[in-house]
């Protein structure tokens, strides 16, 4: 399709490339660095990143709200949080630069991205909450499962 202009800048215009080939190689190097960082963290698994940053708040409505809003920092290992953030960064650059989403119209971009993001977040939220509930049921009931 389009012979309209390709955007040659990444990182919100901070890094500009001379040609489209150079931009592709630049993005490739960036994705490789992220993957290498992920693999190194995955092998070393630093002990300091294996316990959550904060402990959950106790008591009252505000504490519950704080627990919900800060749940990634309260209930997740920082290491896993880092992996997920890096994965989303990688997904962004694959979609925006390799699939040329950067050059599409805003309407097409939102049609594809917002729909997918909304449905996926919703699906993940309900399934993980449900899985955690069943885990609690297994753990706290009177039937023994380890035999």
């Amino acid at each position: 399709m389009g012979h309209h202009e390709h955007s040659l800048a990444i990182f919100r215009g901070r890094l500009k490339f001379k040609s489209i080939e150079q931009k592709i190689w630049g993005v490739f190097i960036f994705l490789s660095i992220i993957t290498i960082v992920e693999v190194i963290f995955g092998i070393i698994k630093p002990q300091s990143l294996m316990v959550p940053f904060m402990s959950s708040f106790e008591g009252g409505f505000m504490a519950t709200m704080a627990n919900i809003f800060l749940s990634p920092f309260i209930f997740m290992k920082p290491l896993n949080l880092i992996f997920i953030v890096l994965t989303i960064v990688k997904a962004y650059y694959i979609t925006w630069d390799f699939m040329h989403m950067r050059d599409e119209t805003k309407a097409l971009r939102r049609m594809v991205v917002w729909t997918a993001i909304f449905l996926i977040c919703y699906l993940i939220l309900i399934l993980l909450v449900e899985g955690d509930y069943i885990f609690e049921v297994y753990k706290n009931n009177y039937v023994k499962f380890d035999f």
Binding site: M1, F41, N80, F83, T87, A91, I94, T95, M99
Partner: protein
């Protein structure tokens, strides 16, 4: 009865576990059981990486078709390489899925 329980709890943990609960030997993995742990681990591994592998395999086949179309000049005559672009979208999507599978199966 009482004696039985008493005798049992005197035994060492490892030995008691294998004597009381052990049933059969597992080697490797299949959809029913695997030596790594919970059966669902292997089930999801086979299912999700298999589904992704199937996507890659189809992508390779489609790429081969497009490759030959390029070589025989179909898109030169059409004066547009949009087919390459569409297949490219699919191929990048397969890569995108792998990024997530990699994170959730191997890293997290």
């Amino acid at each position: 009865m009482k004696m039985g329980i008493q005798r049992f709890s005197q035994e060492k943990a490892s030995i008691a576990k294998i004597k009381k609960d052990g049933k059969l030997v597992v080697e490797g993995a299949n959809l029913k059981r695997n030596e790594y742990g919970h059966p669902l681990f292997a089930d999801f591994f086979f299912f999700i990486t298999g589904f992704h592998g199937f996507h890659v395999f189809s992508g390779v086949l489609i790429n081969i078709i497009i490759f030959f179309n390029v070589v025989i000049g179909t898109y030169e005559r059409r004066k547009s390489y949009e087919m390459v672009e569409k297949v490219g979208l699919y191929w990048h999507f397969v890569d995108l899925v792998w990024v997530f599978v990699f994170t959730f199966f191997y890293l997290v």
